[in-house]
Symmetry: C2
Subunit: 144 residues, 2 copies
DNA sequence: ATGGTGGTTCCAGCTACTGGAAGGTCAAGA
DNA sequence: TCTTGACCTTCCAGTAGCTGGAACCACCAT
């Protein structure tokens, strides 16, 4: 199977599949012409990866899960602990976002949104309460 | 005021403040020695930025909000529409994450997590249902 | 003079891809 | 046979929003 067909079947962009090879998640064979040649085992791995990624597991999680998947002697407890850890992160993220949502929707409700320059949203951004020490807001993490 | 003091007061890392200058969100003066010299207006902008970022507005949102903030003739409707748009995104993200959480917690509950290799989580990742066309899972977006 | 704590610049790296350029391969049609 | 077009290849750069680190300068106290 060439990459195009695999891309359709695994529901992943070809670019992503090449990237997964780059970072060593899969290692498809090559045809004499240089084209990647995917066998069923590769397809299964890709499908697995797609699903795990859809559930928000990081690439490194996926790498670990794949290794466990391939390891016939794994303990299911190892898998479970990765999943539990991830679940905890998802729950944290949800509650953070819910707080943000509440604040935002409160602001939006307060603002009549007319043509006048008076704006409670901006006003509240000026003096919105509570912050501690220098926060790290960052985090180019993917979620969902 | 030097950057250290501002960092404490605005509750933002110095690195972040320099970055905000880089991308043109603020333009502090310079002392003869080359040190950045922040006045109250800069402080207020930084505080504003910190709050907007805490609420998950993107940098470009912040740029727009700052411009509106500085524009005495702005219409509050413009601000409101940015906030509403952002609110919608936050709500979408929450519901995506809730779906993920439900699936994950279901999986974790199903898995006894013992020493045996049999693992319902891995099994379900093999054959987890429903995907359409090649998905873009991506998105280095920050959220709160 | 020295040490410590600030400040400065610049470059690289993080996640997980994505877009695009420049070019090779293959099958079908004129 | 030539050409067209779809498909494949590699490689480089860019995304968001910082963060870490190196190498260096400025200031103040001893």
């Amino acid at each position: 199977m060439n990459i195009g067909e695999v891309s359709k079947k695994a529901a992943l962009p070809a670019k992503t599949i090449r990237y997964y090879e780059d970072i060593g998640l899969i290692t498809p064979l090559r045809d004499p012409n240089g084209y990647r040649c995917f066998r069923d085992a590769d397809m299964h791995k890709l499908a697995f990866l797609g699903r795990a990624r859809t559930l928000g597991f990081t690439i490194e999680d996926c790498r670990a899960l794949l290794a466990l998947w391939n390891d016939q002697s794994r303990a299911s407890a190892d898998v479970r602990s990765i999943a539990k850890e991830h679940l905890a992160q998802v729950e944290k993220k949800i509650s953070d976002l819910q707080e943000i949502r509440d604040t935002l929707s409160h602001l939006v409700r307060e603002c009549v949104g007319d043509e006048r320059p008076d704006c409670p949203i901006l006003k509240s951004l000026e003096k919105f309460p509570g912050q501690k020490s220098p926060q790290k807001i960052a985090g180019a993490t993917r979620e969902a």
